[in-house]
Protein backbone atom coordinates (compact mmCIF):
# COMPACT_ATOMS: atom_id res chain seq x y z
CA UNK A 1 0.00 0.00 0.00
CA UNK A 2 1.41 3.37 -0.96
CA UNK A 3 0.36 6.70 0.44
CA UNK A 4 0.69 10.05 -1.26
CA UNK A 5 2.18 12.89 0.77
CA UNK A 6 -1.24 14.50 1.27
CA UNK A 7 -2.85 11.26 2.44
CA UNK A 8 -0.01 10.54 4.84
CA UNK A 9 -0.07 14.07 6.25
CA UNK A 10 -3.87 13.90 6.65
CA UNK A 11 -3.70 10.58 8.50
CA UNK A 12 -1.04 11.92 10.86
CA UNK A 13 -3.13 15.09 11.38
CA UNK A 14 -6.32 13.12 12.11
CA UNK A 15 -4.55 10.74 14.50
CA UNK A 16 -2.92 13.68 16.29
CA UNK A 17 -6.25 15.49 16.63
CA UNK A 18 -7.97 12.32 17.88
CA UNK A 19 -5.29 11.81 20.52
CA UNK A 20 -5.54 15.48 21.44
CA UNK A 21 -9.32 15.27 21.82
CA UNK A 22 -8.93 12.25 24.07
CA UNK A 23 -5.95 13.38 26.15
CA UNK A 24 -6.25 17.16 26.57
CA UNK A 25 -7.40 18.08 30.06
CA UNK A 26 -8.99 21.40 29.12
CA UNK A 27 -12.47 20.75 27.69
CA UNK A 28 -12.35 23.73 25.32
CA UNK A 29 -9.05 22.52 23.84
CA UNK A 30 -10.54 19.04 23.54
CA UNK A 31 -13.56 20.39 21.62
CA UNK A 32 -11.26 22.30 19.26
CA UNK A 33 -9.15 19.19 18.64
CA UNK A 34 -12.36 17.27 17.94
CA UNK A 35 -13.47 19.89 15.38
CA UNK A 36 -10.09 19.72 13.64
CA UNK A 37 -10.35 15.92 13.66
CA UNK A 38 -13.76 16.12 11.93
CA UNK A 39 -12.39 18.49 9.31
CA UNK A 40 -9.48 16.12 8.60
CA UNK A 41 -11.79 13.11 8.38
CA UNK A 42 -14.10 14.97 5.98
CA UNK A 43 -11.15 15.58 3.61
CA UNK A 44 -10.23 11.89 3.92
CA UNK A 45 -13.81 11.01 2.86
CA UNK A 46 -13.36 13.14 -0.25
CA UNK A 47 -10.06 11.37 -1.04
CA UNK A 48 -11.88 8.04 -0.60
CA UNK A 49 -14.36 9.32 -3.22
CA UNK A 50 -17.27 9.61 -0.80
CA UNK A 51 -18.07 13.34 -1.20
CA UNK A 52 -21.60 12.92 0.17
CA UNK A 53 -20.23 11.63 3.47
CA UNK A 54 -17.47 14.27 3.41
CA UNK A 55 -20.03 17.05 3.06
CA UNK A 56 -22.00 15.68 6.01
CA UNK A 57 -18.90 15.26 8.16
CA UNK A 58 -17.74 18.82 7.45
CA UNK A 59 -21.17 20.36 8.10
CA UNK A 60 -22.23 18.27 11.11
CA UNK A 61 -18.98 17.14 12.70
CA UNK A 62 -16.84 20.22 12.23
CA UNK A 63 -19.64 22.79 12.15
CA UNK A 64 -22.81 22.09 14.10
CA UNK A 65 -21.33 19.75 16.74
CA UNK A 66 -18.59 22.26 17.58
CA UNK A 67 -21.14 25.05 18.03
CA UNK A 68 -23.37 22.86 20.21
CA UNK A 69 -20.36 21.76 22.32
CA UNK A 70 -19.24 25.38 22.71
CA UNK A 71 -22.76 26.42 23.76
CA UNK A 72 -22.82 23.60 26.32
CA UNK A 73 -19.42 24.76 27.60
CA UNK A 74 -20.64 28.36 27.84
CA UNK A 75 -23.48 27.10 30.05
CA UNK A 76 -21.24 25.15 32.43
CA UNK A 77 -18.39 26.04 34.72
CA UNK A 78 -14.99 25.24 33.30
CA UNK A 79 -12.46 24.46 36.04
CA UNK A 80 -9.00 25.95 35.60
CA UNK A 81 -6.49 23.14 35.29
CA UNK A 82 -2.75 23.34 35.68
CA UNK A 83 -2.12 20.08 33.89
CA UNK A 84 -2.20 20.08 30.10
CA UNK A 85 -2.84 16.38 29.61
CA UNK A 86 -5.29 14.01 31.22
CA UNK A 87 -3.78 11.36 33.52
CA UNK A 88 -3.82 8.08 31.62
CA UNK A 89 -4.84 4.94 33.50
CA UNK A 90 -3.36 1.61 32.50
CA UNK A 91 -6.78 -0.08 32.46
CA UNK A 92 -8.12 2.46 29.94
CA UNK A 93 -5.08 2.06 27.68
CA UNK A 94 -5.44 -1.74 27.76
CA UNK A 95 -9.16 -1.58 26.97
CA UNK A 96 -8.84 0.98 24.14
CA UNK A 97 -5.75 -0.83 22.80
CA UNK A 98 -7.62 -4.13 22.64
CA UNK A 99 -10.51 -2.43 20.81
CA UNK A 100 -8.12 -0.84 18.30
CA UNK A 101 -6.45 -4.23 17.72
CA UNK A 102 -9.82 -5.82 16.98
CA UNK A 103 -10.65 -3.03 14.52
CA UNK A 104 -7.21 -3.23 12.88
CA UNK A 105 -7.69 -6.97 12.38
CA UNK A 106 -10.49 -6.20 9.89
CA UNK A 107 -8.35 -3.81 7.82
CA UNK A 108 -6.44 -6.44 5.73
CA UNK A 109 -9.72 -7.81 4.39
CA UNK A 110 -10.78 -4.41 2.99
CA UNK A 111 -10.20 -3.91 -0.75
CA UNK A 112 -7.46 -1.47 -1.76
CA UNK A 113 -8.53 2.12 -2.53
CA UNK A 114 -9.60 2.40 -6.16
CA UNK A 115 -9.29 -1.34 -6.78
CA UNK A 116 -11.56 -2.59 -9.54
CA UNK A 117 -13.02 -5.84 -10.77
CA UNK A 118 -12.49 -9.05 -8.85
CA UNK A 119 -10.03 -7.35 -6.48
CA UNK A 120 -12.88 -5.28 -5.06
CA UNK A 121 -15.93 -7.36 -4.09
CA UNK A 122 -17.76 -4.17 -3.00
CA UNK A 123 -17.70 -2.71 -6.53
CA UNK A 124 -18.04 -5.94 -8.48
CA UNK A 125 -20.87 -7.20 -6.25
CA UNK A 126 -24.20 -7.92 -7.88
CA UNK A 127 -26.15 -5.28 -5.95
CA UNK A 128 -23.66 -2.46 -6.68
CA UNK A 129 -23.57 -3.34 -10.37
CA UNK A 130 -27.39 -3.40 -10.50
CA UNK A 131 -27.59 0.08 -8.96
CA UNK A 132 -24.90 1.48 -11.25
CA UNK A 133 -26.52 -0.01 -14.35
CA UNK A 134 -30.15 0.83 -13.61
CA UNK A 135 -30.18 3.82 -11.24
CA UNK A 136 -30.59 6.49 -13.91
CA UNK A 137 -33.21 4.67 -15.95
CA UNK A 138 -35.30 3.74 -12.94
CA UNK A 139 -34.98 6.88 -10.80
CA UNK A 140 -33.94 9.65 -13.23
CA UNK A 141 -31.19 10.92 -10.89
CA UNK A 142 -27.48 10.88 -11.79
CA UNK A 143 -26.13 10.57 -8.25
CA UNK A 144 -26.35 6.85 -7.47
CA UNK A 145 -26.05 7.64 -3.74
CA UNK A 146 -29.24 9.73 -3.92
CA UNK A 147 -30.93 7.02 -5.97
CA UNK A 148 -30.20 4.43 -3.28
CA UNK A 149 -31.03 6.87 -0.45
CA UNK A 150 -34.33 8.25 -1.71
CA UNK A 151 -35.61 5.50 -3.99
CA UNK A 152 -34.20 1.99 -3.51
CA UNK A 153 -33.78 2.38 0.26
CA UNK A 154 -36.45 5.04 0.68
CA UNK A 155 -38.15 3.28 3.56
CA UNK A 156 -34.88 3.23 5.56
CA UNK A 157 -34.41 6.92 4.81
CA UNK A 158 -37.90 7.68 6.12
CA UNK A 159 -36.79 5.91 9.30
CA UNK A 160 -33.63 8.07 9.44
CA UNK A 161 -35.64 11.26 8.95
CA UNK A 162 -38.02 10.21 11.73
CA UNK A 163 -34.99 9.51 13.97
CA UNK A 164 -33.80 13.11 13.44
CA UNK A 165 -37.32 14.38 14.15
CA UNK A 166 -37.54 12.22 17.29
CA UNK A 167 -34.17 13.53 18.46
CA UNK A 168 -35.59 17.05 18.34
CA UNK A 169 -38.74 15.97 20.21
CA UNK A 170 -36.64 14.08 22.78
CA UNK A 171 -34.49 17.18 23.38
CA UNK A 172 -37.67 19.20 23.95
CA UNK A 173 -38.99 16.56 26.36
CA UNK A 174 -35.77 16.29 28.36
CA UNK A 175 -35.47 20.08 28.69
CA UNK A 176 -39.21 20.40 29.44
CA UNK A 177 -39.83 22.94 26.72
CA UNK A 178 -42.85 23.09 24.46
CA UNK A 179 -41.36 24.99 21.52
CA UNK A 180 -37.95 25.25 19.84
CA UNK A 181 -37.08 28.71 21.14
Amino acid sequence: MTLTLIEGALLVFVLGCALGAALLKDVLASVMAFAAYSLGVSIIWVILEAPDVGLTEAAVGAGIMTILFLLALANTVRPQEDQILERVRFRTVAFVGAFVLVMLATVPSLPAIGADGAANPVVSGEVTQYYLANAYEQTEVHNAVTAVLAAYRGFDTLGEAVVVFSAGVAALTVLRQEVFA
Binding site: D52, L55, N75, T139, V141, T157, F165
Partner: protein
Protein backbone atom coordinates in the same frame (compact mmCIF):
# COMPACT_ATOMS: atom_id res chain seq x y z
CA UNK B 1 -23.73 32.41 38.94
CA UNK B 2 -26.31 34.90 37.69
CA UNK B 3 -26.55 36.43 34.26
CA UNK B 4 -24.92 39.69 35.26
CA UNK B 5 -21.71 38.03 36.51
CA UNK B 6 -20.96 36.32 33.25
CA UNK B 7 -18.66 37.90 30.74
CA UNK B 8 -20.73 38.73 27.67
CA UNK B 9 -20.54 36.10 24.95
CA UNK B 10 -22.02 38.45 22.38
CA UNK B 11 -19.88 41.26 21.01
CA UNK B 12 -21.60 43.69 18.67
CA UNK B 13 -19.20 44.06 15.77
CA UNK B 14 -19.91 46.01 12.60
CA UNK B 15 -17.47 43.85 10.66
CA UNK B 16 -19.15 40.58 11.66
CA UNK B 17 -22.66 41.98 11.10
CA UNK B 18 -21.80 43.32 7.65
CA UNK B 19 -20.01 40.12 6.64
CA UNK B 20 -22.90 37.94 7.79
CA UNK B 21 -25.41 40.20 6.03
CA UNK B 22 -23.51 39.70 2.75
CA UNK B 23 -22.66 36.01 3.18
CA UNK B 24 -25.94 34.67 4.64
CA UNK B 25 -28.02 34.84 1.41
CA UNK B 26 -25.29 32.97 -0.45
CA UNK B 27 -25.07 30.29 2.25
CA UNK B 28 -28.85 29.82 2.16
CA UNK B 29 -28.75 29.60 -1.65
CA UNK B 30 -25.93 27.07 -1.43
CA UNK B 31 -27.98 25.05 1.08
CA UNK B 32 -30.93 24.95 -1.33
CA UNK B 33 -28.55 24.09 -4.18
CA UNK B 34 -27.11 21.16 -2.20
CA UNK B 35 -30.66 20.05 -1.37
CA UNK B 36 -32.09 20.30 -4.91
CA UNK B 37 -28.96 19.39 -6.87
CA UNK B 38 -28.25 16.40 -4.61
CA UNK B 39 -29.87 14.28 -7.31
CA UNK B 40 -27.04 14.98 -9.73
CA UNK B 41 -24.08 15.94 -7.53
CA UNK B 42 -22.90 15.19 -3.99
CA UNK B 43 -25.37 16.37 -1.41
CA UNK B 44 -29.01 15.93 -0.55
CA UNK B 45 -31.52 16.75 2.12
CA UNK B 46 -29.40 15.87 5.14
CA UNK B 47 -26.39 17.96 4.07
CA UNK B 48 -28.44 20.87 2.69
CA UNK B 49 -30.58 20.96 5.82
CA UNK B 50 -27.56 21.29 8.07
CA UNK B 51 -26.14 24.12 5.93
CA UNK B 52 -29.53 25.89 5.99
CA UNK B 53 -29.61 25.53 9.78
CA UNK B 54 -26.14 27.01 10.05
CA UNK B 55 -27.46 30.25 8.48
CA UNK B 56 -29.47 30.85 11.67
CA UNK B 57 -26.33 30.21 13.75
CA UNK B 58 -24.43 32.76 11.64
CA UNK B 59 -27.19 35.30 12.29
CA UNK B 60 -27.08 34.51 16.02
CA UNK B 61 -23.30 34.92 15.97
CA UNK B 62 -23.60 38.36 14.37
CA UNK B 63 -26.78 39.79 15.92
CA UNK B 64 -26.93 37.96 19.25
CA UNK B 65 -28.79 34.80 20.21
CA UNK B 66 -31.69 36.58 21.90
CA UNK B 67 -32.56 38.89 18.99
CA UNK B 68 -32.30 35.94 16.57
CA UNK B 69 -34.57 33.90 18.84
CA UNK B 70 -37.16 36.68 18.75
CA UNK B 71 -36.82 37.03 14.97
CA UNK B 72 -37.31 33.32 14.20
CA UNK B 73 -40.95 32.29 14.37
CA UNK B 74 -41.27 29.10 16.44
CA UNK B 75 -44.25 28.06 14.33
CA UNK B 76 -42.07 28.02 11.20
CA UNK B 77 -39.53 25.74 12.91
CA UNK B 78 -42.23 23.37 14.15
CA UNK B 79 -43.98 23.37 10.76
CA UNK B 80 -40.73 22.56 8.94
CA UNK B 81 -39.97 19.63 11.25
CA UNK B 82 -43.39 17.99 11.29
CA UNK B 83 -44.18 19.05 7.72
CA UNK B 84 -41.03 17.32 6.48
CA UNK B 85 -41.98 14.02 8.12
CA UNK B 86 -45.57 14.31 6.86
CA UNK B 87 -44.44 15.18 3.31
CA UNK B 88 -42.07 12.20 3.13
CA UNK B 89 -44.63 9.81 4.61
CA UNK B 90 -47.40 11.17 2.36
CA UNK B 91 -45.34 10.66 -0.80
CA UNK B 92 -44.44 7.15 0.35
CA UNK B 93 -47.94 6.13 1.39
CA UNK B 94 -49.56 7.80 -1.63
CA UNK B 95 -48.17 5.14 -3.95
CA UNK B 96 -49.72 2.45 -1.75
CA UNK B 97 -53.09 4.19 -2.18
CA UNK B 98 -52.51 4.09 -5.95
CA UNK B 99 -52.12 0.34 -5.69
CA UNK B 100 -48.34 -0.02 -5.64
CA UNK B 101 -45.59 -0.44 -3.07
CA UNK B 102 -44.18 2.14 -0.64
CA UNK B 103 -42.39 5.00 -2.48
CA UNK B 104 -43.01 3.53 -5.94
CA UNK B 105 -42.57 6.98 -7.52
CA UNK B 106 -43.43 6.10 -11.11
CA UNK B 107 -47.08 5.54 -10.14
CA UNK B 108 -47.39 9.35 -9.94
CA UNK B 109 -46.55 9.41 -13.67
CA UNK B 110 -50.28 9.58 -14.43
CA UNK B 111 -50.46 13.03 -12.79
CA UNK B 112 -47.10 14.52 -13.74
CA UNK B 113 -44.28 13.61 -16.12
CA UNK B 114 -40.82 12.81 -14.65
CA UNK B 115 -42.66 11.89 -11.46
CA UNK B 116 -39.69 9.92 -10.08
CA UNK B 117 -37.28 12.85 -10.32
CA UNK B 118 -39.77 15.30 -8.79
CA UNK B 119 -40.71 12.80 -6.10
CA UNK B 120 -37.07 12.39 -5.06
CA UNK B 121 -36.62 16.18 -5.01
CA UNK B 122 -39.67 16.57 -2.78
CA UNK B 123 -38.44 13.85 -0.43
CA UNK B 124 -35.02 15.57 -0.22
CA UNK B 125 -36.77 18.87 0.49
CA UNK B 126 -38.76 17.23 3.29
CA UNK B 127 -35.60 15.74 4.81
CA UNK B 128 -33.90 19.15 4.52
CA UNK B 129 -36.78 20.77 6.40
CA UNK B 130 -36.59 18.23 9.23
CA UNK B 131 -32.81 18.47 9.60
CA UNK B 132 -32.68 22.27 9.36
CA UNK B 133 -35.41 22.80 11.94
CA UNK B 134 -34.03 20.21 14.39
CA UNK B 135 -30.55 21.76 14.10
CA UNK B 136 -31.99 25.24 14.72
CA UNK B 137 -34.10 23.88 17.56
CA UNK B 138 -31.18 22.14 19.30
CA UNK B 139 -29.14 25.34 18.94
CA UNK B 140 -31.82 27.47 20.59
CA UNK B 141 -32.48 24.87 23.29
CA UNK B 142 -28.80 24.66 24.25
CA UNK B 143 -28.41 28.43 24.04
CA UNK B 144 -31.46 28.96 26.26
CA UNK B 145 -29.50 28.62 29.48
CA UNK B 146 -27.00 31.23 28.48
CA UNK B 147 -27.20 34.75 29.89
CA UNK B 148 -30.37 36.02 31.51
CA UNK B 149 -32.59 33.16 30.39
CA UNK B 150 -31.13 30.98 33.17
CA UNK B 151 -32.63 33.25 35.82
CA UNK B 152 -36.23 32.95 34.69
CA UNK B 153 -38.31 30.93 37.16
CA UNK B 154 -39.71 28.59 34.45
CA UNK B 155 -36.25 27.21 33.77
CA UNK B 156 -35.87 26.14 37.38
CA UNK B 157 -38.93 23.90 37.46
Amino acid sequence: MSGEDRPGLYVESTIIMTTVRVVAPFVLTFALFVMFHGANSPGGGFQGGVIAGSVIMMLAFAYGIDSTREWVDVRVVATLASGGVLLFAAIGLGTILLGGNFLEYHLYERFISHATAYGIELVELGIGGIVASVVIGLFFLLAAGYGHAVDTPEAEE
